[in-house]
Subunit: 380 residues, 4 copies
């Protein structure tokens, strides 16, 4: 019998991370993919993924607009509540056999709660990692609600077993984002794409990439944090691709900081972008001289690609990392110095902490074979 | 500065369990109690607690009707989502310093998510225990979202530290339900009460108490499970106080089973009840000959009171228990036999696994002194 | 191009009323039926329609559980709000060309608001009538949100034109419930049905039918109102089919009144029922000696079938009626007398105030041809 | 007994319109004001009113964040649904005697539905007017749900009586916005204000004001509509205060049009603003040479102030207007010509179609004396 696998994508970043698995699930003869797009993944200002999905040939089962419009944590909580309501209704109607919750964004709690309350087998991808921010709490809470765990590292696997998860249901598949990174590495020619083409760096061009998100437990410092990095990059005076932040509380504050900067400085070399396709995005990272900010991309994909990273602040605190990462504070001077050091070092050798590029296949295969809740009643 | 302590009560059972702490919080000069009543705690059919609160002299900050009307897990998920939305709005307006989430009912996830998303210090009472059912997942997920833990047993404390919780924020306060049990034990005279009076057993009367809830992961067996126990109690032919079930999915199925039974059998000795006051409830338990079913009352309060318990099925699987508990299956014959054995054994000696009756005071004192999130920023 | 016609059914009564139109829409080559079942139409205690739909061969596009569980007007308001949210999401995903809102129950506001906010052509069936209760407000508000009106009487048509509705979009189709009544009249043999069979009256049996709902603007009198009628019917001492009430605020109060009655009186001739199939229901009415209560069935279908009706209270105040209706108060004595008078009068001659039995066809034909909002932009 | 009067403000424009009444309600000894701020009135990008409320000395009873973040009509419907849920909970807890719904924005439906479902006396301010857009439907639907009507013009009063509203409950109070306009007229000195000061025009400066909102039934033309007006104003080449649009679907599209314009044109004389205080706003209008766009301010306040207005498109179609208004299309050339004609004409004489400046007092007095639903039960 074909298993219906429902994946809820709530952000562009999650799409990039899971895409390799989606491809394999779609191709698998025993699986049917139910793709749900929700929250910021539907909003233009956060890099709506609908065009990318269409281009990549994915059909959408449902769209759920559940983001509240307000830059505060209250809105984040309500977005989560609304998502829970709507996903419960949707699951009732599309009857998935398995629901997949990705990573640690607060909206993924909606997916996890709806599925677990409804006794639908819940798979959590990327559990067991350690970081700062509300992400940490969310990730661990989703782990507790989940029935099966597809983790990205050996340490994460150990951690889940240590806290009492049944080892039979904890699988180290690696992170599917590394599958894409492998692809990006092997393509010598730059992928042309309608949406990204005009943002493409010239061949051989030297440039930086910045990805800096708000830290929801430090919202009062958001504006200061973004200013320090903006000033550092201005001083570095190297062409830079700067990604708009994810849809977290604090994100509009970052956008305001950027607008303010743009109004004051007209002679900078920064290009603010948001809509890169997953593969082009990784090619952009792969060909960059240094990645700056607090995104997990610096920790995961960049370690595989060997890209020098300057990681700022507490957002990734505790996450396993390769030798390519230098940590620093939200401090203009320190950032400049760290980047300069990384530029001198140049490329690092590839590390496979987060996988070797075959996560998608493993995930699809497991989804077709793991025992569902219905099949393992005695465990409960 | 006075700290505002917000407690959300979603079921009569939770009120019984936390009442001793509420009393101490109310009396504490450094604390202000914000009492929110929600979900089944507002519904007459599940034993609405508004009258009890008034009688006990508590003021209510807000009432939130968020129970969906449908006997399925989909409704349970939506109830949780709606609760999250409404509690977020409420917290935004009443600005608590601390939010307390009690136990492991699915609706407590709403409280936990709203508070944690909003960076409000979240205290979880009764974490770290092990059981079956969805309760297990909910309890552990709330633990992961919480900042401070007031556990009821030494083992629970160890377990939370083992899975990585900071020991400085894990306190073994004991369970405040034992405070009430202590009180019930010391009162020789039966408490008269307007609402319970007419249900009072006669002095010296020998009777059983039954509390059997649905198991949300075994919903398809609910009707069978209730039938077995009903038949067993009929065969035992002893006066019995039988409590209507909590507001879980499956609960209407139990109620239907009871109605069916009542239509068929007119010569039984069962009294179906729901609205006992917390203290009268514990007196009823204390004077009973045996407690039957799958309620945690059999595990917690009954072990302190030394009452023989026949615990049925998986719902309490794994929970620490005293020597007063005999486990059995949903099987009429086995239940009859187990009860008869317990009746022969009579009263057990008191055990203090779940506390010694001073939890309320400890909890209030801790609430006045624990560092709030705002004060321990560096942890994050 | 095939037009997608979405109908949201929120109560068993609405299903009976619209079924004839559903049949015609389904058969029409230019129309595709999108059937949504929501609110009380999904709940067993109010006569869940899922089995009936299956038996009648209808496919369901989506189920939406949106009833709040609380017997008060607050819950009714929240049910409406939740319905609006969920229907908006659903319409976004199933993209209907036309949405149909039926009658005047408060939940129909959800349908009307979602469709009108989203610029989807909204058809209101049964507007322009006058009654008491919140129904009156709801009906007129939906009329104001609707683009096209299928009314049941000539007076209703005039009224809508008088208050400014464009006559081109106000159609007197008659009420589709009369189509079923016509069918019920023409069938001499009683329809057997699995679900109703055992409730079937014997051939030639003389019996009454009672349908009494709560009046949401007179909730404080609900219990008294039901008591008066129960006593009257007890005094009449004739076999009686008594239908459980609709899912309005006050409905549980009525159910309680009935339970109380049943506990006290064991020698009555009343049969309490809820799950009649639409056609059997009308056959039951058609063969009854008198219909008692405050249901619009007494006003609409009964006038066509010529059945004597004793209409109680303000709920139908102002609604056009035939000579078969006698009005009275919630007063035991007056009800008994009115019923006795009606029993002496016996059958009335058929009146076609609410249509002549061909509404379904007219409605389907109009749905295929009326200009959609998109086609008549200039009106706005 | 003091009556609790609850007013829900969902947009800055509504605050400007109702402020004079708020002042009088607050001062009235028999009334207690319950002020609820919701939806776009809480969002910085739409001109958050919290600072203004504080400055004006109003206490807030509750804040409700219910705006969905998505630029489409689906989000508008969901915002309305969420508002209904949250307002119902709030009304349950703060127990207002009267709820006031202002005007015709879609979110006001939430207020109206919650209050009417809950049998709370609902007063509608500004009913009975005629316009284009979804506003028309919303206004009339709220009228149908309301119990008492405070209209702004004699024609509106007649219209409500004609469609069947009880004349005893339809009062022509005039529009409270005219009270403020009267005040603005009488103040010779320009009000200084912290928030507006730096935007203040110089004394004697000649300037235009533009207020152009999206038309929710013509969303596909929004970008074109804004472009035409931007080009017209650029050609006119006169200093201009241009207000950001209300929070309607289509509003982000307008904002984008403005950003696009700003990127291309650096030599224009437009100042884009959003946060004017109610009184300063009216002074700005009063001293302007011409008001351009599709705001009702051009129809209401401007007619009293005698300001020349160029009204564009269908948004105000059908609304009663003074001789100061010239209508035109979204056509750059026609707009330029209409504005030039109005500039030649200069100031018009004051008209009192929408009141004479004493609405606030009348409204407060009526609120203290009108019979509540509870007092006029017999009407139902």
């Amino acid at each position: 019998m074909i298993r219906k696998i429902c994946i809820v994508i709530t952000a562009r970043a999650s799409y990039c991370r899971i895409k390799a698995a989606l491809n394999e699930i779609r191709k698998h003869p025993a699986l049917e993919l139910q793709l749900v797009v929700a929250a910021s993944a539907l909003l233009e200002k956060y890099g709506c993924i609908l065009d990318s999905l269409e281009k990549d040939g994915f059909c959408i089962t449902a769209k759920i607009f559940n983001m509240l419009d307000a830059d505060n944590n209250t809105a984040a909580a309500k977005t989560t509540g609304l998502g829970t309501i709507e996903l419960a209704s949707l699951f009732e109607n599309i009857k998935p056999d398995v629901v997949i919750s990705i990573g640690d964004r607060f909206e993924t709690l909606s997916t996890a709660i709806a599925a677990s309350c409804m006794n639908i087998t819940l798979v959590h991808v990327q559990g067991g990692e350690v970081t700062g921010n509300i992400d940490q709490k969310v990730r661990h809470a989703v782990t507790e609600l989940a029935d099966v765990h597809f983790v990205a590292t050996a340490k994460a696997q150990n951690r889940l077993v240590q806290i009492g998860k049944n080892p039979e249901y904890v699988f180290n598949t690696g992170c599917p984002s590394i599958d894409l990174a492998l692809q990006a590495k092997n393509i010598t020619q730059y992928c042309e794409s309608e949406t990204c083409e005009n943002k493409k760096p010239d061949a051989g061009e030297k440039y930086l990439v910045v990805m800096q998100h708000s830290v929801t437990t430090e919202l009062q410092y958001t504006r200061k944090q973004i200013r320090e990095t903006l000033n550092a990059v201005k001083i570095l005076n190297i062409p830079t691709y700067w990604f708009y932040p994810n849809a977290d509380p604090g994100s509009p504050e970052i956008t305001k900081g950027i607008r303010e900067f743009e109004e004051k400085c007209h002679d900078h070399l920064i290009r603010f972008v948001k809509n890169f396709e997953p593969l082009q995005f990784l090619q952009l990272i792969r060909n960059s001289s240094c990645l700056i900010g607090n995104s997990s991309t610096g920790i995961r994909e960049a370690s595989y690609l060997g890209i020098p990273v300057v990681n700022i602040g507490t957002r990734q605190a505790g996450r396993e990392r390769g030798s390519n990462v230098t940590d620093t504070d939200y401090d203009c001077e320190k950032i400049v110095q760290s980047v300069n050091n990384q530029l001198l070092h140049r490329r690092y050798s590839s590390e496979t902490i987060y996988g070797n590029g075959h996560a998608g296949k493993k995930i699809a295969e497991l989804l077709a074979t793991i025992p569902l809740i219905a099949d393992r009643k005695t465990d409960y």
